[in-house]
Symmetry: C2
Subunit: 358 residues, 2 copies
């Protein structure tokens, strides 16, 4: 049984089974017969409060199980210590890894995360962004949805003075900090590796063109071919192939050509997997008949047989870098309009699916 005296002439008996109203600094102040401001200052170790009252206040706060009402504090101070996160899907390995890395850093700095998903649609992205602005988050980090082709909602974010950081799927239509991986380099080294393994007819499963990450992977592919003086063949490039099913179909199409490719560089591990399934089902040898390289280094790539060579994106590290950038931006907000681009070098993880020589 706890006894609270908020109105001195109106005691309330709180049964421990009832929802007890939260203890406030005013409750503590009343009991100790001091002012709420003193309680507030005592709790935050203000130098002008005597050690004696600090002790008393803290002791009572502990005894009553006082928990500061952050909402009230937020309103007054104008900060929420919360970061908004917008991703296409939470349960996608890459995104949850980035978020995991991000969380570890910002939570240690006292920030909490509010996570939303867009399901790859523009409408939900806009909706989420607005909700986060309303919630007065201290910053927003986002990876664009595939359906996003307009960017005005980000202007809204910036007009509200909220730091905005893109990661992975970014746009150059908005001036803001970004953390991306060097997809061009990733594509380049993947294809370069295939060439080194002796492949001469390398096909490519490209992703949706308007997402920079995919167009860069394709550029990397093209650059590598040029550099090594291999002709670029349009019929070896299949667009918008990033799922297992479309990868399967695209592979069948390629293997139906008169002049079959001897390697495929897929912009997605899943489409590479689809190709692998098709090839195995139809008696092609991997990597001897067709070598395969995917992109993203999904967990399954090391578990399937043969292991799928893939480009690792250091997703956890991306999260950490985004976090650092964010912490830096809120520190200087709103003074400097720093825009930094962090480009992370991916790593090619070579496995059996492309390793011809030992």
């Amino acid at each position: 049984m706890v006894l609270l005296s908020k109105n001195t002439n109106n005691f309330k008996y709180i049964n421990s089974k009832m929802k007890s109203p939260q203890v406030t600094i005013h409750d503590i102040a009343k009991i100790l017969k001091i002012s709420a401001s003193t309680v507030s200052r005592a709790l935050s170790d203000h130098p002008r409060i005597s050690t004696d009252t600090k002790k008393k206040v803290k002791a009572l706060a502990k005894k009553l199980g006082y928990q500061p009402n952050i909402v009230a504090s937020n309103l007054r101070v104008g900060k929420t210590n919360t970061v908004g996160i917008v991703v296409p899907r939470i349960n996608r390995n890459f995104f949850s890894n980035v978020i995991g890395g991000f969380e570890e850093v910002v939570s240690n700095a006292g920030y909490r995360m509010m996570i939303t998903q867009t399901n790859e649609t523009y409408n939900k992205e806009v909706e989420n962004i607005k909700a986060l602005i309303n919630a007065r988050v201290d910053g927003i980090i986002i990876s664009l949805s595939a359906g996003t082709k307009a960017y005005n909602h980000f202007k809204l974010v910036q007009r509200n003075g909220i730091p905005l950081i893109f990661f992975d799927r970014a746009t150059d239509k908005i001036e803001s900090s970004k953390v991306v991986i060097d997809d061009l380099d990733g594509g380049y080294s993947a294809v370069n590796h295939l060439i080194s393994q002796g492949c001469k007819k390398i096909a490519h499963f490209a992703g949706p063109e308007h997402l920079i990450i995919y167009s860069n992977r394709k550029k990397g592919y093209l650059n590598a071919l040029k550099k090594r003086n291999i002709d670029i063949r349009d019929d070896y490039i299949v667009n918008d192939i990033i799922t297992k099913d479309t990868g399967f179909d695209a592979c069948r199409h390629l293997m139906g050509l008169k002049d079959k490719p001897d390697a495929i560089f897929a912009a997605s591990d899943f489409s590479a997997l689809g190709a692998m399934v098709y090839l195995k089902e139809n008696g092609y040898k991997i990597p001897d008949d067709v070598a395969l390289v995917g992109f993203a280094n999904e967990p399954f790539t090391s578990l399937i047989e043969p292991g799928l060579t893939s480009v690792d994106q250091h997703s956890n590290e991306i999260g950490i870098e985004v976090a650092k950038l964010f912490l830096d931006e809120v520190k200087h907000t709103p003074a400097s309009k720093i825009c930094r681009d962090i480009i992370i070098k991916p790593d090619l993880i070579i496995r059996k699916s492309s390793r011809k020589k030992t």
Copy 2:
């Protein structure tokens, strides 16, 4: 250039590049020469406000890009429309799937999510719970960390009148709603299936005993053996084996026994995978020499060769059920102390690793 008159005698010129202070209902009120309360009511379509003023207010609100300050609203109303989520790790497939399902339901009901991870430690769990209480979330949903063996922090949640729902990893030490899968049934049907395939010497990789989910899976294993009159052999049960590496080692140990098992039911897909790797490396045939069944139906189980038979937990559905339960509890809060247990039946997904007959 936007012109705001907050103090009538102190105009502020806001350059569009500056961080513009957020528009409030007071700004709108001043401009329209009406009171802030009217603006507030107009915006929320209060019946006692004339259609005329509603129109004017809404028009101006739109023009000024007014965004309600939810923090202020939260403080006044005493709700935050936010759910706190505590999971061991965000980037674990199962959890991110549950969260994904959960999000879809609650976001449509106007709730946002605050997600925290414990990294399987008790301390971080307590810390996260306290932070969520401070943030005044409207509810907390949690899957226990492996390191949690004390439960007082949940009493704190309940004392604050915050609905609390456990999912997957729950405890019966706290009276509260839960959504779990029927692990016992899952274990039972996995082992029953192995017996039907002709296996007689079935080993088990169990998980940490103090997590109910694992002890139930083991019970299911034991029950199935009893029911089918197969002797239980202690040397076929290896405890605390849930990772790929420990699965590999445990499998080596089992295959070193004089009387080798002819099947393994692993409480985790990862330890089953470890076993599979060991068996393949050492020339054993799967499922003919040793049949394998895992648990969780991780994405990789369908991608590896042979496909790993596994128990699907309907993770997405768990999230949806938790969400429904949550929405129901906040609706009735704080009146009724409803405690419901939702038990979801898992599905055995049979693949090559255990299919002996065709």
